[in-house]
Symmetry: D2
Subunit: 347 residues, 4 copies
């Protein structure tokens, strides 16, 4: 039984970790670090957990976390980098759901996040935890940077196309849409129900969103050279779910069916990527609560483009579920352990 | 491994049965009866199931169903009564999620449902499957009438009070609110998004709703004599969830704390009823996707009443989950088998 | 042209006043008092106003407000009582959308609002501005206490019954449901989209809500003697709208049709109360954005009760619209001036 | 006083025409044609209209409509083309909210709508009623084709850029998102609340949506040569509102501020187009219920693109409001008559 600690246990990603680890046969959560609810029963803060967990909020102290086998951190950027050295040097594995170790280029991190990085050596060691693309490196990792929610949806939509050289590296666009839980549990006018409900908006457009360099890093890996993207996030009046609409200019002549086959082959062994048949597109609710990423696509012969639509649950494949998938890999467990129980809920 | 058949597999209760039975270690769904999608892969109709089930829609024929160990029926009222005799005489157990066997008084059924009953002898045999109140009878049953969603929430809110004689039998009111999935998957203007969203309404008020006699039957059992209730359903712009606000006139003097204790004792051994501490009230999302019924209450000394608030997920404890709970009892399995995996999702 | 000032112009009730006064041919808003946005263009804070108003946020100072013909205050309780004396003594009329002058019993105010009242003489002078019941007194008033949103819906549902003596004064229950905008624009976890969406809850039940004594005050006026009520508020995942379900025990024998006639007569001359025909119940969206209160009812002969369902838009008839209706009365304008332009929007 | 008839009065666009014409001082609706509710009071079908209109549903017969001064048609495609000749030959003006007269190329109509056109001569005469671009031609028109909702949002986002030659004609993308009312009032699984709520999807992507050629027709007019676009519609879980995110490749070097200025000049005299300052983007709710189109934009120097975000209320500027704007022009009334009363509602 692995002993797991969570730093940031009462945020939305943290509480989803607790749900999912509760379904995992090989893990027990032993430490629930929280800024806001120290000394309080988690089941009081989150009554949906009543009778299911017996945890009390604790300080997210490095020493305590270092006593675990594995630690999940879901903290504001800049915090995990201060905890990581002590945790790792105790032999504990660390999976960071935040951004501190996602960008391999420390200067890029510092420019986008406006923060000096205090653990650049760990950046060099960290593995970007998108199992479908970096599985082998995750297996051996001490420190995994769990991908952002948008980058997960975008990278999985693009990977087969870029690996096959089927599309131009120029002019790639991701027009992405997210539910509100992606913004976290913090309160501000931007998540006020009366402001969000029956409303739709774009935000951080035209290269302003910090997930842009993360997406570009993965796409550049796939393409073997630098790739720029337009990434445009939008806020949908719903709680969970991300849908990314990817626009790619085709190289050569492809039919929808051929590209569906390409995607199916690429993801043939993947337990959590489901490619839709030609003519079918996924919707966010079809992966609600689960670790799946569903992908559909269609060629537009008029414009020479292919459109790829990918959906995930931002809190699962976009955060807690993917983190557990990484943990399974890191500890040599079957990759799906504990995750298939999180069946999509519909409706 | 129990072989289960479902008649009405592609309605919302049916598809929730498929989700939950997919988490159950002792059951395999072998027959998915459906009116609308015969010959079609379920994963095509419901893409959230892709890669998880390998079922094709079939006719809900009595002969086929009779080959199962257990059959769940989720059909328009009047249909199950025609299937039940053949299914039961084959030795198959039947759990009806519809209304055909809920009312022990056949005349009441015929009056409320405006339909002649063709299997009155089976009405006499059927057990009302609310495990918290009728567990022992469920264990031996061949035919279980799974309670309605509203009656489940109302009965569990009332039971400790009536058993203890703590409240008057006069003037009981249940003001209940349900998400839209309770109306099923059929299309009509009443479930059109643009009509429901940002809207709230009462319907079938003042004794018009067919769940009224079902609630009264259970409350009369609890009280040992006839009880009339005012039951008022409302439609909430959300998909899942029922909240029932029960109003009871106290007999004698009780504090909130005393009544919370009464409820805790009453439900001490119940795995799916969670009583909230005094001062805390449940919300529907706290049981979302799970088989729990959460209950909170408060005494109003000004008016001499106690208010009880109970919440369930109408598709789980109000339908598919409770049906599986009954199945577990009928087949001698631990009552929670396969059901605790359905953890509440929050947010 | 009346010169109007608003104190609390950037809250939801304030901004709705600005929308509605913008449709009013006899009023110009000249002062927009705000705590949070002083010196800022309102059209920057609320872009829906761009091109429609030319106001800049100002301090809500008594001297400035005293230069207006009429002042609307929409402020936290306890604040308006400090502004009112100066404003009124300048000859300016005051319409308070807050609670400071609603309860005629100063001790009750102090007990429910936990605040000493600093202007008890003005409490004695203030008129409760529910035009359908207190129209004549509003006409002459200097100071009008605009009713709370819930009390408006409840009082209009009850008035014909109590005036006619058709129901018992015992056992009156209002089970009420409100959209989220009723909680105002302030941010807290209780209005976070991810907490409210796909969720439903009761709050401040069993006599805890401050609108209870306000409802009782009006019902006692109607009945000519003390009336206690059970008032239970609930939060609906929608932005605007209140629906109150009223439960009354009938005195004597009444049919639904007879009571519909009673309501129709009672409200025959009322421009903003619409009584539904027997068999029809109102929904909140049917009055969305308008000053209407729609009412439907049904007798339940089984329990000897009548259920009355009333709906309002909490920001219009429950706040800003009713305030303008009062203003029209106070200044001798036709009562509907500027208000019928606010047509209900559907869907 | 103009006498107006509506064919398709009980659909969502029709009922919005009735709301808006009710605010118009120069028009009276005298004929409410409807397929489904003939002989029924509109206030019974749509209770929000109770006390506001006195219309009874009628057959949408050409003779009756020909007796009006102006007729609005909101009908399935293919129907208006059969009514138009008789209506127009009686001297009645016709504003078609459907698609029959939008495409000047009859062959394109027949290809996209899979229907033979029976009035090609009227296609030649019809004026595309986007006042901001075709105002002068609308003034003299007998027959106006009211633009589709998506094409309105897209054309207004693109017009200043194309007229100024600021962007390439290659690679234009509109990623558009709409509320559910755009799909009309007809019932089908695609508008079922439980299917739409907490869900987000793309549909008719990659050149499948019929609004594609309509957008291209207008953009080609603006550019003076053929333009192809990628148009991708999505469904948002909300009732009203369209947001279009337009992607354009810049020709030459432009800053956000310069382009904002360009848009401001282009729309300087437009009463219903509001250009946001640099750094500000519109959201759908900011135009809710109103005839405004709000536009914001931002240059992405990394990719050499400009992103333009435009929002409308699909039932107002995207349908009924724009139709009235056209009517005002056709009859020589001030263009804003009756439309500014439809103030945006927020929140």
């Amino acid at each position: 039984m692995l002993r797991a600690g969570i730093a940031g246990a009462t945020g939305y990603a943290g509480i989803e970790l607790i749900r999912l680890l509760g379904l995992h046969p090989e893990v027990q959560v032993v430490w629930a670090g929280t800024e806001s609810y120290q000394g309080q029963e988690l089941a009081g803060v989150y009554p949906h957990l009543r009778g299911r967990v017996d945890l009390v909020g604790q300080e997210a102290a490095a020493e305590a976390l270092a006593g675990c086998d594995v630690v999940f951190t879901s903290l504001p950027h800049g915090v995990t980098m201060t905890l990581a050295p002590a945790v790792l040097s105790a032999g504990t594995r660390l999976i960071d759901l935040g951004a501190d170790f996602r960008l391999r280029d420390v200067a890029a991190y510092e420019a986008w996040y406006k923060k000096a990085h205090t653990a650049p050596d760990l950046v060099a060691e960290a593995v970007y935890g998108l199992p479908e693309l970096y599985r082998e490196r995750v297996r051996g990792a001490r420190l995994v940077a769990n991908p952002g929610c948008y980058p997960t949806a975008c990278a999985l939509a693009a990977a087969p196309l870029l690996r096959a050289g089927a599309v131009s590296l120029e002019g790639i666009i991701f027009d992405a849409k997210s539910g509100v839980s992606g913004a976290g549990r913090g309160v501000n006018l931007g998540v006020h129900f009366s402001e969000v409900n029956e409303n739709f908006k774009a935000y951080n457009i035209a290269g302003d969103h910090r997930h842009t360099p993360e997406i570009e890093q993965t796409l550049s890996d796939l393409a073997g050279g630098p790739v720029l993207v337009s990434f445009t996030p939008h806020l949908v009046p719903m709680t969970r779910g991300i849908l990314a609409t990817g626009y790619f200019t085709l190289r050569g002549s492809w039919t929808t069916e051929q590209l569906v086959d390409l995607f199916r082959e690429f993801y043939a062994e993947e337990p959590f990527v489901r490619v839709r048949p030609a003519g079918d597109l996924p919707t966010t609710k079809q992966v609600w609560g689960s670790n799946y990423c569903d992908i559909g696509l269609k060629v537009d012969p008029r414009t020479g483009r292919v459109l790829v639509v990918s959906v995930i649950d931002n809190l699962v494949k976009g955060a807690a579920g993917q983190a557990i998938q990484n943990m399974n890999l890191m500890f040599g467990l079957p990759e799906t352990t504990g995750l298939l129980q999180a069946a999509p809920l519909y409706p």
